[in-house]
Symmetry: C2
């Protein structure tokens, strides 16, 4: 298996200024697997759901090339549920309900089909669970990427640092980078964070794009200026899934190719926010994605003639 | 005269987390003229100072090709003085002192050498004064750009709208764009603002770069990720000066060339913040600027192979 991801497969109930949903399918693992499936034609997902989780969704993931041998279905238990309400600026949200359910005792099982992963994506989960996944793999993947959040910095910083020491790529947002490094400047934050383990750091800045720190190089990825963000839920996971799917499909971890992977992830994330939950990701085609990628090229491409003004 | 700029020539006293200055030379007009002088070899500056302003500074501007026939020197009066203190994040500041002095009664005089400007840069000033400059020109410049600030939106919105109706390019920051348009989304804000007059809009986002709206096109310009910003004073004026200097020198207002002009302005602004006041702008050479522009190219350049993953 080229790519293996771990992350929650869950129910979300979302309220934005544009509307609200009942329980719909969400979860970091779901968004990651859907997004990466556009590039990685074979992949495995490690997760856990309750007996209340719709088999159609699992079947749909399978139809997209996602091996779900590693998705445990716990009879008599309920799926992880999160409910949140976004504020008017869509940049902040209140969590209304968090029911851990099956996720509270999640003990990841790695089926043999997933043991030989070249690329491993650790979706946002307890850093202890993320470390367990690494430890249970038969061989160390070529590249391990990890998402996390301020919650784990608050309550499990030591575990987080232990896991960070084992990975290659950390994907966090600017606020989290500042909290983790205690530095306001993102350039300084990057130095502090990369000294903790990950050689490569991606700092997501929402509507302001993303920064990639790779060796001595920095890439400033644009974000597509959007008229409106309908629902930001899952955008970060979709970005990470698109990024890792692209890397797994191209099998090239150079700076130049990671730039492309970031643009691919950004393009997918820009679709994700157009409708509630995973809906938009189930509608789009590779042609849609390629057209969107062309928009990113147009948005940030320029040619400088340094002698033009002499 | 290819380029004429209007803006304050002033004294600043600045306090940042890195240190503080006594009265040093500052002012939007000073930064604009210095920055544009790297590209525009001939230009005029319209401003006013008191008898306390150092003649060496005016001589230095002349030595950089700035015609100062339009800089009035008011005997018996004092130069505009601003004093401010930046907060630790460098993104916000408190104004400690504002002494308008000669700027309070500024009545711009346009010498004959400035009457035929092709490019006009209206630095941040009362919109009434900005409009007066346009009205006093013998012919309408090919391109008029304008900076403004939230202060004028608060106290002189009607005047501001009158001036905006006469210009081609508005250069403001994201907070100002939101205040002016009453829209949070910058894409929507751009629509509202461009309906007020300026066909072309540049929204500066500080460390997050800048957006250029030009016809149906959008360009997302990166900002150089900096370890520290020593003193942000004048960075916006330097950006505007570099932008207009580049346009005046190349005489090309196409989207592609405006992208280049924005990169040129961004490169100059990235130097400006490295030391207090105008100091850094007086030290750097065209080679330094070209090297910095190459950093911008490296930072945002990527090549997408859309078939690479099929």
């Amino acid at each position: 298996m080229k790519l293996v991801s771990v992350g929650s497969v869950a129910f979300d109930a979302i309220e934005t200024p544009f509307g609200k949903t009942d329980k719909i399918v969400g979860g970091a693992g779901t968004f990651i697997a859907l997004a990466s499936s556009f590039f990685a034609k074979e992949q495995g997902l490690i997760s856990v759901v309750g007996e209340d989780f719709p088999t159609e969704t699992l079947d749909y993931l399978k139809s997209r090339g996602v091996n779900i041998d590693g998705v445990q279905i716990k009879q008599g238990e309920k799926t992880f549920f999160w409910s949140g309400k976004y504020h008017n600026d869509m940049n902040s949200r209140d969590t209304l309900v968090t029911e851990l359910n099956v996720l509270g005792t999640f003990d990841p099982i790695l089926p043999s089909s997933c043991q030989e992963a070249d690329y491993l994506m650790l979706g946002n989960l307890s850093p202890q669970v993320q470390l367990t996944v690494i430890e249970r793999l038969a061989k160390r993947p070529k590249l391990i990427a990890m998402d996390t959040m301020n919650f784990w910095m608050d309550i499990a910083l030591d575990d987080l640092k232990k896991t960070m020491a084992e990975i290659d790529v950390l994907i966090i947002n600017d606020e989290e980078a500042r909290q983790l490094s205690k530095e306001y400047s993102l350039v300084r934050a990057a130095k502090v964070i990369r000294a903790m383990g990950p050689k490569i750091l991606i700092i997501k800045k929402g509507e302001h794009g993303a920064l990639l720190f790779h060796g001595e190089n920095v890439f400033f990825a644009p974000a597509l200026p959007l008229e409106e963000v309908f629902d930001p839920t899952g955008a970060g996971d979709t970005f990470a899934g698109g990024f890792m799917g692209y890397l797994a499909a191209t099998n090239d971890d150079s700076f130049e190719n990671m730039k492309r992977a970031i643009i691919a992830g950004s393009a997918l994330a820009s679709f994700c926010v157009e409708k509630f939950g995973t809906q938009r990701l189930t509608e789009i085609t590779m042609d849609d994605i390629n057209a969107r990628i062309q928009q990113f090229v147009a948005l940030s491409n320029f040619e400088m003639n340094l002698h033009g003004t002499h």
